[in-house]
């Protein structure tokens, strides 16, 4: 068999980037938060994360093999593992396994595979799963275990999260209720021990998430536009509201509470559902920040981040149509 020359069209070189590198990069960025969640929530966190990841991967494998009957299975590209992790981070550590599996089925089966798989989904799959569970199982999804119960799973003691305290303060128009909030350092680091902080797996320790953000920026997996525009908008808007009336929490507490950090860094920056140009991303981020603050302050749910991101996911195609990049030569000297 003589050696042949290979021909193809240019370019004949490729960079080191790949889908796997990006997906696994985000998973690595989530590791600090994962370790912190194990330390704070113990066995509950392990069960929730493991179930979520395993069921997401399983559903993607099963749907690809038996329903779509395609030759290649996409589970190795890391996106289903990532969806599983992010879904898990949105859930309380005392959620029963069967509910988690339903959430994974909705996240992968409905929000991702029905639209065509990776790259085709209009909405963030993990958030769709989470919102579905919130609406279907409101009681289980709003009882948040307190940090520090390492060996308790479904029997963990629950308490009010910082966001529910803030909601309570607004609805009863009583700023003194805000004194019950943990101090900012505790919210940044999370604070183990009963009666100190409660929340979903991914939201209690903001510092771990910020470490993940720095890692993603350094490895150039995401750009700064979306997270920074969300943070700035939330800070400014909630700052103005706090100045207007002390019923609203101060901006630092708003930034550190609830799923804002997790959403801004990992969910809103999802490639598939966010705009493609920097200007579009800034508009997207500002709108998410605005919607989050509005829903938190005036809506009936204490948490607005998931809904804000899903609403803006619907606007992404519109933003893409109108926010085109600056063409070379457009501005003529």
């Amino acid at each position: 068999m003589s050696n042949k020359l290979i021909v193809s069209l240019s370019p004949h070189a490729h960079g080191t980037d790949s889908v796997e590198r990006n997906m696994y990069g985000v998973i690595i960025a989530l590791i600090p938060a994962l370790i912190v969640s194990f330390i704070y929530f113990g066995i509950g966190s392990v069960i929730v994360c493991a179930t979520s990841v395993a069921s997401c991967v399983f559903f993607e494998w099963a749907i690809t093999k038996f329903i779509l009957k395609s030759k290649h299975n996409t589970i190795t590209d890391g996106s289903s593992i990532l969806t599983g992790l992010l879904l898990g981070f949105n859930l309380p550590s005392n959620l029963p396994i069967w509910i988690i599996i339903i959430g994974a089925l909705v996240a992968i089966g409905v929000a991702k595979m029905t639209f065509g798989g990776l790259g085709c989904n209009p909405f963030n799959p993990a958030l769709v799963g989470r919102v579905f569970l919130l609406i279907s199982f409101p009681v289980q999804m709003t009882s948040w275990p307190v940090i520090g119960q390492l060996y308790k799973y479904t029997d963990a003691i629950t308490a009010a999260t910082p966001l529910s305290i803030m909601k309570h303060a607004i609805s009863s128009n009583d700023p003194s209720l805000l004194d019950k909030l943990p101090d900012s350092i505790s919210m940044l680091l999370g604070n183990p021990g009963l009666n100190h902080g409660a929340g979903s797996l991914g939201e209690v320790c903001a510092l771990a998430l910020i470490v993940g953000l720095i890692y993603l920026l350094v490895r150039k997996i995401i750009t700064w536009h979306i997270p920074v525009s969300i943070f700035v908008t939330v800070f400014v808007l909630s700052g103005l509201m706090h100045l207007a009336s002390p019923v609203y929490a101060d901006p630092i507490q708003e930034l550190l509470s609830g799923g804002l950090m997790l959403g801004a860094i990992f969910m809103a920056t999802d490639y598939v559902t966010s705009p493609m140009t920097s200007n579009g991303q800034i508009i997207y981020g500002v709108s998410i920040g605005f919607l989050t603050v509005v829903i938190r302050a005036f809506g009936s749910y204490p948490e607005g981040m998931s809904f804000a991101i899903l609403i803006m996911n619907a606007f992404t195609p519109l933003i893409n149509t109108y926010c085109k990049p600056k063409r070379f030569g457009e501005v003529n000297k």
Partner: protein
């Protein structure tokens, strides 16, 4: 009770007002169209293949109406529907349908994997237009079939498919409507729409290579080298040699097959002729896609 009455009256009034508005607007903003176009369009196959040369079936219907006003339906032919459809169109318009000779797509290349050696490996987008712009393809023939199936993708009637053993497209002449989509899709103009012929028999040169003979021989076992033997033996002046390639004019060809026997390269193919009962070892009748005996 009065609530129900009020609800009924209000909804009824809304319904009535909406009906009036819809009626008035449909009359005021109605598009005036010749009714015959819709009638003609209704009998057409609705394949919108463009084989008639007009944009879709509605375009063809409009053209037929215009032609009928001009006096004759000549030149208007629907390849998908054929004569039955044209007779219906003619009867709607009060004209006579002119029978058009049926055509079929013909793939003028026999450069199978056996006949044409592969000299390079192609890596990349597997469409004929991409491979065509990359060079001659995997073989040395710059005019021959690339086998990536742009023609198959263009066909709306499933009438053409790539034979996996030979990597050359083959036309299912029962399904082929001669709409010409495959011929347009082929970047090397290998597919030609030719007359289907008497009893579906036709003879053609299965080569489009325009290299000089000395080079054409190296490139493929069944290439045309423009030696001219076919032209000399044809008694009906049906064969022309131009730019190192022989071409058989389908209107002049009388299907005598003398050229096929003369061709030293087995580059001329006759389709749908009965295979002789006695196997003639000296006969050089070649069948599309089959290995050629030297």
């Amino acid at each position: 009770m009065s609530f129900v009455l009020i609800a009924v009256i209000v909804l009824g009034a809304i319904g009535l007002i909406s009906a009036v508005i819809l009626y008035v607007t449909s009359k005021k903003f109605a598009v005036k169209e010749d009714l015959r176009i819709a009638e003609v369009s209704a009998v057409l196959p609705q394949a919108n293949c463009g084989g008639c040369g007009f944009p879709g079936c509605s375009g063809f219907a409009a053209a037929c109406v215009k032609a009928a006003d001009g006096g004759s339906l000549e030149g208007k032919h629907c390849p998908v529907g054929g004569l039955p459809v044209m007779e219906k169109v003619a009867s709607i318009l009060g004209m006579i349908a002119v029978e058009d000779a049926p055509n079929a797509a013909v793939v003028r290349c026999n450069g199978t994997c056996e006949n044409r050696p592969r000299i390079v490996k192609y890596d990349g987008l597997m469409t004929c237009s991409a491979v065509n712009s990359c060079g001659t393809g995997e073989t040395a023939c710059g005019d021959g079939c690339l086998g990536c199936g742009d023609c198959v993708a263009a066909c709306q009637f499933d009438a053409i498919y790539i034979n996996p053993d030979t990597m050359i497209p083959e036309v299912d002449e029962d399904k082929c409507t001669a709409c010409g989509a495959c011929a347009k899709a082929c970047p090397r103009n290998i597919i030609e729409i030719r007359l289907k012929g008497k009893k579906n028999k036709r003879v053609y040169v299965s080569c489009v290579n325009r290299d000089k003979g000395a080079f054409a021989i190296k490139v493929c076992k069944v290439s045309c080298i423009a030696c001219g033997k076919c032209q000399k033996i044809c008694q009906f002046n049906a064969i022309t040699i131009d730019d190192n390639l022989a071409y058989i004019d389908d209107e002049k060809c009388r299907l005598c097959r003398l050229c096929e026997k003369e061709c030293p390269r087995n580059a001329i193919i006759a389709v749908n002729f009965p295979i002789p009962k006695m196997a003639d070892s000296k006969s050089k009748i070649s069948i599309v896609g089959q290995k050629v005996e030297a």
